[in-house]
């Protein structure tokens, strides 16, 4: 059974249809990277997966279970699926350490001392243990994003969603964030990643999905997509972004 299965998913904002008949599957331990031009619906699709956007039609199955009609227990589902945002969205009135340990303590009733230990370990993992007691606004974008990854990991998610995690970063800060993501992929984390980082897609992804105008245009192994795309639109997009 697939970890995540999306069937005929559609989404419209008023008259504007942003997702049309999306079908895709993510197996446990896979890293699936979604690429495509701006406005192709990649982020909306990702946000539908943890229901920050309400899908207009279709089905989303998580470990075989329909998640679109969970009602109040949607929060239990979200605990199992972490999300990392383009703009980090750290909690500004809390220190870095609090950002990471708040949810486990408040939502999972984790023991405070243990949660603290775990949070420090996670910060260590993303290379920011030394910054545990500062406030997010004193950090660079890249550092903030790594804290955001640690925060998502603190809930022990089974799958992580990344919504253009490096798009808001200065170019020299992108590398550190991608390093952390590679490390996670290496540890077998299931990841669904929307990104413009073609290098990352090529190197880390098990599968690459190309989206355009709300459709999944192509879905395949990275070497196939990048070297021998079947679809004309995929080819056009890749030649635009790769030969810049």
């Amino acid at each position: 059974m697939a970890m995540l299965e999306i069937k005929n998913l559609s989404k419209s904002f008023g008259d504007l249809q942003v997702l049309r008949d999306i079908n895709l599957c993510v197996e446990k331990g896979q890293v699936v990277v979604i690429i495509g031009p701006s406005g192709s619906g990649k982020s909306t699709m990702l946000r539908c997966v943890n229901l920050l956007e309400k899908p207009s039609g279709g089905e989303i199955l998580y470990q075989g279970e329909d998640i679109m009609h969970l009602g109040k227990s949607v929060k239990n589902y979200r605990k199992r699926v972490g999300m990392v945002f383009q703009r980090f969205n750290l909690f500004g009135l809390h220190t870095v350490l609090e950002n990471v340990m708040l949810a486990p303590v408040q939502l999972n009733k984790a023991d405070k001392t243990q949660a603290r230990e775990r949070a420090l370990d996670l910060l260590d993992k993303v290379g920011l243990k030394a910054k545990a007691d500062v406030y997010p606004h004193t950090l660079s974008g890249g550092q903030q994003q790594r804290v955001a990854i640690a925060r998502a990991l603190a809930m022990d998610p089974e799958m992580l969603l990344f919504d253009e995690p490096t798009s808001a970063l200065d170019p020299e800060l992108v590398g550190d964030v991608l390093e952390v993501m590679k490390k996670l992929a290496g540890e077998g984390m299931t990841m669904l990643v929307v990104t413009h980082e073609m290098g990352f897609a090529r190197e880390v992804a098990d599968r690459v999905i190309f989206m355009d105008e709300g459709y999944v245009v192509e879905d395949g192994a990275p070497e196939v997509i990048f070297t021998n795309p079947k679809n004309e639109r995929t080819r056009a997009f890749l030649s635009r972004v790769l030969h810049k």
């Binding site: 943890n50 920050l52 109040k72 929060k75 239990n76 979200r78 605990k79 972490g82 999300m83 945002f85 703009r87 980090f88 969205n89 750290l90 909690f91 500004g92 009135l93 949810a103 408040q106 939502l107 406030y135 606004h137 955001a148 925060r151 998502a152 809930m155």
Partner: protein, 231 residues
Amino acid sequence: MDLHWERTFSKLGPSLLEGIGVVVYVTILGFMGGLIVGLLLAIGRVSRHKVLNRILTLFIELIRGTPLLVQFFYIYYVVPMLIDALMGVFGVHTNVQISATVSGVIGFSINYGCYMSEVIRSAILSVNPGQREAGLALGYSERQVLFQFVIPPAIRNSIPVFGNYLVMMIKDTSLLAMISVQELLLRTKTFASQTFLTVEAYTVLALVYLVISVPLSRLSVVLEKKLKRKG
């Protein structure tokens, strides 16, 4: 014109000091009451409950559309009569009285609460939606997100405006002279009519207000800058 400053200071001074006590007392309670009313109204107004929303909007309109002084009179004179009449329907004879000071505290709580609710509401709406989404994505409920990650920064961003309101409230306590609260204006007026030291009395009164308000408004400017720096 003969001015008798010394006599003014020695006679009016001690009385005004007592008056400051009353002003501080009413302002502190009224301000805290205003914060609570403001927060509750703001939460009600950002909720998705349509009927509640309509009612609260109407109430805020009502309060903001009438003068504070009229509200003080209403609470002091009319509300006790309404309560008596209402209880009379159930055959209970009450003789409710609301003291002038308490009327003042209630009036300030409601009136300033309505103005503050608008400040808090717009601060809530201007908190980056990413904060809400980050909370939801971690598994918090909408309500938890509101109280944990949206209201605290909203309150923090409202603090400079609250500073201004505090200064305004201190000055507005002078309205309470009209319902016989022994605050600064009423004491000065009594003194002036007894001694005819009108110029001295009201000049001293003005100075007392200045001495209280100017440092407070300075403080709120400093606070505002400090909060801004921390982002």
